[in-house]
Amino acid sequence: MKQYFKNTWDGIWTVLIGMKITFKHLFTPAVTIQYPDVKVKLPDRVRNRLYVNIDDCIGCDQCSRACPVSCIEIETVKGVPGEDLGTTSNGKKKALWVTKFNIDFAKCCYCQLCVFPCPTECIYMTDIYEFSEYDRNNFVYNFSALTKEEIEQKKINFEKFQAEKEAQKAAAAKPKTDTPPAATN
């Protein structure tokens, strides 16, 4: 009988305690962050979408080789002597035209391994993480600054230069072929 009344009292009392707690929480400020309007502050060394500052890129292909999933594709064309390719921000002379610099973010695993080998620090992580797409092909980002015509032009220039060089070589070599080379013992 005593237990019975104690149960009754406990039932009412504990419910009141619970109600007090929930009532307190009714007035505590919410912890919700209203995402698209308000964003969480990102940590300092966060890894998100890559960015390539193509003005600084010397086309050394080191990032592409470091990539564990081969998501970076680089093609280069050598510059012709006398052509001004400009310099990087840390004063290096550029020697290659970067005709193709594609990063496929559908493949990218955000490991940051491409960032460290870069001699000019032109590839780095940004704080952009909202870049969903409806088509997978849209994930291939093209960082090359050259237009198609320019690329064609550079290729033709280089081939011309190469051909000229070959011709010069051939011209220089021709007289030599007339006289047999001195025998070496």
């Binding site: 009754t8 039932g11 419910v15 009532f23 929480h25 009714l26 007035f27």
Partner: protein, 355 residues
């Protein structure tokens, strides 16, 4: 109310329709605001924000949900009992809505002034059980059937303590009419039944503790009758999907929700009328002060709805405080605790009212 419109319009049908429209509008508003409030209250009690995107602080969320619901396809399983399946939501809503006929919103705004008011309300709200059983049985789904069976067991059990407490109140006041209940607890809160009624004297002070016990019992058991947490095993979301209305969708589902919120207000109204003065103001009327008689019924309406909403809020508050009871706990609470206390309460109130 009916008589007033009948004299005004001279047409029985028009007068009936207008009289019936008032509680209908009230039920719809309760459902509309109740769903929004429930989401907001639950969210803030869990330190969240709840709906925030539709309108200012998400006030149009329920309307958006309603429009979504209207557009939904009425997907119906092939193995159901079609007649009962379609009848059930209508019956459940009818049971809820019919109870409003006897509820006095103010001294002028009463659907029916029937002398058997409270008896009628208790009787007609039992219709809901039949609707719930129909819904569960005709769905041909084991979870629905389980939910319906649990619901029937629960509602039938909890009607007993409710009825006993109502009986003790009827014994004390000597009337069944809900309007007279309200009139007896004249304005000012110390005249309410929870504070021993309007007659000043020894009886009033003797009654107070037993009135509080009666209020707690009737509040708990009406909570169980409308299937709200902690007594929501008939529709336990986490184990029975949605209980007896799992197989329903679109507007038929909305009918069940509408009747749930309508029921919440109806039981709050009953608790208010029995213990908290019905439509009487707790602090007197502005209309009395200004000498404007026409203001009093409007004020009464305001106080009635405010009290109803307060108890709806308490129901929501309890919902987000307490976990769900197990079936055996549910039954032991009813049969081992509420009913004995209600009986003892009935006897003591009987003796006190003899003094």
């Amino acid at each position: 109310m009916y008589q007033y419109f009948y004299n005004l319009l001279g047409n029985e049908i028009a007068a009936t329709l207008i009289t019936a429209a008032v509680p209908l509008v009230n039920v719809l508003l309760v459902a509309l605001i109740g769903v929004y409030l429930e989401r907001k209250v639950s969210a803030h009690m869990q330190d969240r924000l709840g709906p925030m995107r539709t309108g200012w602080h998400g006030v149009f969320q329920t309307i958006a949900d309603f429009i979504k619901m209207l557009q939904k396809e009425d997907a119906v399983s092939t193995e159901i009992d079609k007649k009962l399946y379609n009848l059930a939501p209508v019956l459940v809503f009818t049971g809820t809505f019919a109870a409003y006929a006897a509820i006095p919103f103010s001294s002028q705004l009463i659907g029916s002034e029937a002398e058997v008011g409270i008896f009628y309300v208790v009787a007609i709200s039992s219709l809901v059980v039949a609707g719930i059983l129909m819904a569960g049985w005709s769905s041909n789904n084991k979870y629905s059937l389980l939910g319906a069976m649990r619901s029937a067991a629960q509602i039938v059990s909890y009607e007993i303590p409710t009825a006993i407490v109502i009986l003790s109140m009827v014994m004390l006041t000597g009337t069944l009419s809900l309007d007279k209940f309200s009139q007896m607890q004249t304005a000012y809160f110390w005249n309410w039944n929870i504070f021993g009624g309007a007659d000043f004297g020894l009886v009033k002070f003797l009654l107070i503790p037993f009135m509080i016990v009666g209020f707690i019992i009737v509040f708990i058991s009406t909570l169980a009758e409308v299937n709200r947490t902690p007594f929501d095993i008939p529709e336990a979301e986490s184990e029975l999907v949605a209980g007896y209305f799992t197989e329903y969708c679109g507007m038929k589902w909305a009918m069940f929700m509408l009747s749930e919120y309508g029921n919440m207000f109806a039981v709050s109204a009953i608790v208010t009328i029995l213990f908290f003065g019905g439509y009487q103001s707790p602090v007197g009327y502005v209309g009395d002060l200004l000498g404007a008689d026409w203001m009093i019924p409007l004020e009464q309406g305001f106080w009635f709805i405010a009290k109803g909403w307060f108890f709806i809020f308490v129901q929501m508050w309890l919902r987000w405080t307490l976990p769900r009871l197990r079936v055996d706990q549910l039954m032991s609470l009813c049969w081992k605790y509420l009913i004995p206390y209600a009986f003892v309460n009935l006897i003591i109130i009987g003796f006190i009212s003899l003094i």
